[in-house]
Symmetry: C2
Subunit: 424 residues, 2 copies
């Protein structure tokens, strides 16, 4: 098949008719397939469910002399803080280990800035006239929504192959109303981009007008390669400290996609000064998080080296799914010259750029044929993609056979929407 742009109107009509027949046949199969969210599949859950076999021996109830079953240790078991420090490359005293959700910890950091202020805030953000927030896009819809729910103005920053467009970021932070930026530095959601050294250096070297400017460093996929070897990443806390702004960043991570998405352990990491501030503002809210589950994870993951071994097993499940998606796109869509995408080596998504103006139509067609995807626009602030082009594909949940069916439907829909746009 030639690129669609090179087809004659007659050829386009023929192709459209052929695809409509195929679409009707797929639709008639009445399948319900889901590629909406980065949910691990059952095989991954089963892989780690031996974690429930732990905590059988009373000696496991005690960690560093602390009975993990009782109240106490607000900022987490020391052993759990050491585990995350090992993974993230920072110091244990810079780590706060919480409950099952890094999203909750991120929300809470922003909420505390809003209600009480951060360490260097002149006042709580709820007392500010306007708060603006930088959103590299395409990005993670749940990030954008956290800052939207507090009424911040979301400012779109274009993404490049090396991370957020730093010229745009450096210009934006001159505005004292700009209070922070969302970052997913490794295998960014959804593009799978790894921030370049240069991007990271420039982020740490920012001189924002706001004294309490905050880099929200969501290292969600820090050890999540499914292709090739583990890619080391710098400790952002050290990088910011070396640049003279140790308090400008909060890092987040979790085991949601290492052990269990519903029942893992999450943490944040920050400078010691920020930690002291957070302990003060968190004390009225928290006695302690679930230290039994923290202990279960300490016993299960042990350290970074064993964690990376486990991630190889996840890769053996995830790799084939991502290869299937990319291979299908290469075969079905690439020759038509109507879309672009990356072939990520880690993370949970494939970012697909359909022909501008066709993303919503593509996903409406998918839905008609029983395939649920992340809604169009979700990867942009306020759910509005100015190009109506970006689509986030989440291949992790369905088994490979279902994924192949879903991708078949998806490709037909991408083509139909493109032909409609070109005119048939």
């Amino acid at each position: 098949m030639k690129p669609y742009a090179q087809l004659t109107p007659e050829e386009r009509k023929e192709e459209h008719a052929r695809l409509q027949t195929e679409f009707s046949a797929l639709k008639a199969q009445g399948r319900q397939l889901n590629m909406a969210r980065g949910k691990p599949g059952k095989q991954q859950l089963d892989l780690v469910s031996d974690i429930f076999g732990l905590m059988q021996d009373p000696k496991d109830y005690v960690s560093d002399g602390i009975d993990v079953r009782n109240y106490g240790e607000m900022n987490g078991l020391p052993a759990a803080r050491r585990l995350f420090a090992d993974i993230l490359g920072c110091k244990p005293e810079q780590v706060f280990v919480g409950g099952n959700s890094s999203l909750q910890l991120m929300y809470d950091a922003i909420a505390k800035a809003y209600t009480h202020g951060l360490l260097h805030s002149p006042r709580p953000w709820c007392k500010e006239e306007t708060v603006k927030w930088l959103c590299p896009a395409p990005g993670y819809d749940r990030h954008f929504r956290v800052t939207e729910t507090f009424g911040f103005q979301l400012v779109t920053i274009p993404m490049t192959d090396g991370g957020p467009d730093m010229d745009a970021v450096e210009a934006a932070v001159k505005d004292p109303a700009v209070k922070g930026i969302w970052c997913v530095p490794k295998y960014s959601n959804p593009e799978g981009v790894i921030y370049s050294q240069e991007t990271i250096r420039r982020l740490a070297a920012l001189s924002p007008a706001a004294p309490d400017f905050l880099i929200m460093w969501d290292n969600a996929y820090c050890v999540h390669e499914f292709e090739g070897d583990y890619v080391p990443f710098p400790d952002i806390l050290s990088v910011c400290a070396e640049a003279g702004r140790p308090d400008m960043v909060f890092e987040f991570a979790s085991t949601s996609k290492i052990t269990l998405p519903g029942a893992g352990v999450a943490c944040f990491a920050c400078s010691e000064a920020n930690m002291a501030h957070m302990e003060k503002v968190l004390a009225p809210q928290v006695i302690s998080f679930d230290k039994v589950n923290q202990q279960r994870h300490v016993l299960y993951l042990k350290d970074k080296a064993r964690t990376l071994e486990l991630m190889k097993k996840h890769a053996a499940i995830m790799g084939p799914k991502f290869r299937s998606v990319a291979d299908t796109l290469d075969k079905e869509i690439a020759p038509l010259d109507i879309a672009s995408w990356r072939r990520p080596k880690g993370g949970y998504f494939v970012s697909f750029n359909a022909m501008p103006g066709t993303a919503r139509r593509t996903l409406a067609l998918c839905k008609e044929a029983g395939v649920t995807m992340t809604s169009a626009g979700a990867t942009f602030p306020y759910g509005k993609d100015p190009q109506d082009s970006n689509i986030r594909i989440a291949p992790s949940l369905p088994p490979v056979e279902e994924l192949e069916q879903a991708m078949r439907v998806f490709c037909v829909c991408v083509k139909l929407a493109a032909l409609e746009k070109l005119g048939v």
Copy 2:
């Protein structure tokens, strides 16, 4: 021994000298004993640690067709909602099951009122000039601290034998700045009072000037008798609904003192209209809480009847500790007529009223002799007891032998402080 007030100055001096010798001897033993917080003791933790043996069978990973290990079900597993509804006497759809901490859920309800507003709020509370909050006292220091951290003005409401002084409450809610009240309706913290039917009726019948007035109904000790039979309690959601104000109350409960304090499951319950509002404001914050631990609790506790059976076993551990405290006070302090206390039948505390003006001194002496107690004043707003009288005794953590030693120290300190006050 006669009442201290009837002693001659000479007799007081003799008694004081005798007590000082005893105090020095106790101090010389160099013990470190802790009655500061309502922490369950090790025997109670061991009692329920067979809960870790659950979740071994893959069929337990699925509840009502939901894989409990994956993301989803923000407001909790349906089976967990049914369990708490059974215990609280409300409907499952009125229950939101969260993580390990009811304090966090309480904080969050207040935080959402502050940042976003409640269902009937004209505006978020952070936009109000002044927010006032009713604090029945003696009460729970962590409650007071939550409302203090958001800058609310704490208004002390006297406690009576049947709960908060309702005349004072009814008068206070005429002020539109008064936005809510803390309540621990069963075995109140620290007094162990059960709210009377009349108190509950009058609370539900309140006509506050604030349209978004909120009753924070912390049913922390709903099934926590350690003496005698289970005492039924009314479903506050129904009571408020029948009084025509279904949205005025949020109820809270947890298994922190049923299973594990660090690793239990907490919930809130509210009207369906409030639930819809909370789901909307919580959606940006939460994907889901730890459903594995929810499932563990469903399998372990099963229903209200089995939960009450388990509470009998806790009572067998707690009962002797509370009897030891009350018996010691009856024997050592009662004849002196220098203090008063209740003999609670449930909950986690004994509320002790020392001779006015001696609580702080008593606890300073205790500390000197190695006994840590909840700090004086903690049971009042801002940590300031106007009488300097109330002391919260928390007998749950130490084994009975240690508790007896601690109570011996405590009684000597109470007497010494009283004699100092009377003049020696």
